[in-house]
């Protein structure tokens, strides 16, 4: 097992909150192309973000120069691969303010991180009659693992509702949070509405009744200047590909005491200490939860993504997106018959704007926008219960990132006007 040194301090963020977006766009080769004869406007960042040159080159360099298996070789390439893999962990830990990198477990992404907690901590700690508190706005990946766990253990799922602006209704928290509550698991930012949830405040309330707090950070890690320990939660899950990193890599942060007490998730190589025919002992954290050959290149790319974001400054990214969302809300309000879902105040949102337009089905909208070169998501956004709660079958969703511009918001608004015309308005 390699030893993990404390991380280097993060590169300091530039003092100015304004981004040089044109310079940033130069770092993303994929953005410079035409789609259906029009310059690409990529507004599907909540689904997956594009990759900067630094990440693409880190993957390339790893495979060209350093590729080997980690933690086992006594040869030079294996040492380099191990250093690159563990070094990336330090960089990502540093980005998120994690002092002890052994608390950061690599996973395939948020979904695997959530399932890891459900199968290990959940399986070991939940009994019939215990309760798990979720909300109606959760992504399927923060709902289905708990449904499966409830089926296995007899635990009961309870749900926070939302108000008419898609914000959590915290007035029911006292009633829902009881001594039976063992776990509260909530999205930090709603992938479908963009609502930023007060997870820190809820974590305090959860701890007051002895519950563990898990934060689904899939949509906050990329967009907010998240300092994970400062959130006051016990677990935090995130995905690399939604924050400039490669697909197939993400992470779970957990408190050391909880991670140490949890049984392993997958069994296999790399996660063991001593193996006998009849039983085994487990490797130290974080490797206890990293069975098999990991996604080394993915971790390396994730490290490069963390450096990239730290170099730009996440406060600046967040301020840029908030300004862009504010502008988008203004421009979309000018499109007749358009309804925006979620909080009206941009300060309560992250970079996601969900909308519907007259009787035009969101799939039709997405096709029409695509023909104009504008990429958005349309559908239930893996939040079917939320769509039912809102009383819609689906919505169209534009989601922004650090490389999007006000001119692209204008292209979106123009394309929506075109859609109205096509549908006879």
């Amino acid at each position: 097992m390699s030893t993990l040194a404390p991380p280097d301090p993060a590169p300091s963020a530039p003092p100015t909150p304004l981004l040089d977006v044109e310079r940033i766009r130069e770092e993303f080769p994929i953005l410079h192309q035409q789609v259906h004869g029009k310059p690409l406007v990529y507004l599907d960042n909540a689904a997956s973000t594009q990759k900067p040159r630094a990440v693409i080159e880190a993957l390339d360099a790893y495979y060209r120069r350093d590729n080997a298996n980690v933690h086992r070789g006594l040869h030079e390439l294996s040492n380099r691969a191990t250093e690159a893999y563990e070094g990336a962990r330090l960089r990502v830990a540093s980005l998120f303010g994690i002092a002890d990198p052994a608390e950061l477990v690599w996973t395939r992404g948020t979904t695997e991180a959530l399932n890891l907690v459900a199968w290990t901590w959940g399986q070991a700690n939940l009994r019939a009659g215990d309760e798990v508190l979720l909300s109606v706005m959760e992504h399927h990946s923060n709902l289905v693992p708990w449904q499966l766990l409830a089926q296995r253990t007899g635990a009961r799922l309870r749900f926070l509702d939302i108000d008419d602006q898609g914000r959590l209704d915290l007035s029911a928290l006292d009633e829902l949070l009881t001594e039976r509550t063992r776990l509260v698991s909530l999205a930090h930012v709603s992938n479908a509405l963009g609502t930023v949830n007060p997870v820190r405040q809820i974590a305090e309330r959860a701890h007051a009744v002895g519950a563990v707090m898990l934060v689904d950070g899939a949509q906050s890690a990329p967009h907010l200047p998240v300092d994970i320990p400062a959130l006051g939660c016990d677990f935090y899950a995130f995905s690399g590909h939604k924050m400039c990193g490669p697909t197939g890599i993400g992470g779970l942060w957990g408190r050391r005491t909880l991670l140490e007490a949890m049984p392993p998730f997958l069994g296999g190589g790399d996660m063991i200490d001593v193996v006998e025919l009849e039983g085994s002992t487990w490797a130290a954290l974080p490797h206890k939860f990293e069975a098999g050959t990991p996604h080394i290149a993915g971790a390396v790319g994730m490290g490069a993504a963390a450096d990239f974001l730290a170099g730009i400054g996440r406060d600046a990214v967040c301020a840029h997106e908030r300004a862009l969302v504010g502008y988008a809300l203004e421009r979309l309000a000018e499109v007749p018959d358009l309804r925006v879902w979620g909080p009206r105040d941009p300060a309560e949102r992250s970079g996601v704007v969900s909308f519907t337009l007259a009787d035009i089905h969101p799939h039709d909208l997405a096709t029409i926008l695509d023909a104009e070169g504008v990429a958005v998501r349309a559908g239930h956004h893996c939040t079917q219960p939320l769509m039912r709660r809102l009383g819609v079958s689906s919505t169209a969703r534009a989601s922004f990132y650090l490389y999007n511009t006000p001119a692209e918001v204008d292209r979106l608004a123009d394309a929506l006007r075109h859609a109205r015309k096509l549908f006879g308005y």
Binding site: Q34, H36, G37, K38, A46, A47, S48, T110, H139, H140, S141, N191, A218, Q219, S239, K242, D359, I360, H361, P362, H363, D364, T367, I368, A371, E372, G373, R377, A378, G379, H380, H381, C382, Q384, M387, S393, S394, L422, F423, G424
Partner: protein
């Protein structure tokens, strides 16, 4: 390269069927009820059929989805009602050919209003939308009791829920 032909996709006749669907609703005593959904996009259809002596006596559909899936369902019921169920397979085959870009199929009068959907062929990701109702019809034929093709046997009611495909959802 210019954009795909949106005007050919969103023809007036398609929007008319989308906004004023024919044969929408439910039958009180269907011989077969099929519920089908497309988990990727969330489109749903409920298809009811009543067949007498091999003839589609009544057909209704419900559910929700995009203009293409709803118009396709509406136009399909129009072409089925009052016609022999045995002709449905040929109609479905012809429709599929049209969605795969056959100009000859797109001119086939047997398709009726369905010919307005020929433009879908230029939008491969939307072919699935147009096919949802037809996949439900295919399932309905499979579930219908033998009595529907042989009226000497007694008919019963058959209900079934199916997913369109095993394709998994993506994202977030």
């Amino acid at each position: 390269m210019s954009g795909p032909p949106l005007n050919a996709l969103y023809q007036e006749l398609i929007l008319d069927h989308y906004r004023h669907p024919r044969n929408r609703g439910a039958l009180e005593h269907p011989d077969v009820e099929i519920r089908m959904n497309n988990p990727t996009c969330g489109d749903e259809i409920v298809l009811h059929l009543r067949v007498r002596d091999g003839i589609v006596e009544e057909v209704r559909f419900a559910g929700q989805g995009c203009s293409i899936s709803q118009a396709s369902a509406s136009m399909m019921t129009q072409q089925l009602r009052g016609h022999p169920l045995a002709d449905a397979d040929a109609l479905a085959a012809r429709f599929r050919e049209m969605l795969h870009g056959s100009g000859e199929a797109a001119r086939d009068r047997a398709l009726g209003d369905l010919r307005a959907l020929a433009g879908v062929a230029k939008f491969p990701v939307r072919v699935r939308c147009a096919m949802l109702a037809w996949n439900a019809l295919e399932e309905a034929e499979r579930r219908l009791p033998p009595s529907e093709t042989d009226p000497a046997l007694e008919a019963g009611s058959h209900t079934s829920t199916v997913q369109d495909t095993g394709q998994t959802e993506s994202d977030a």
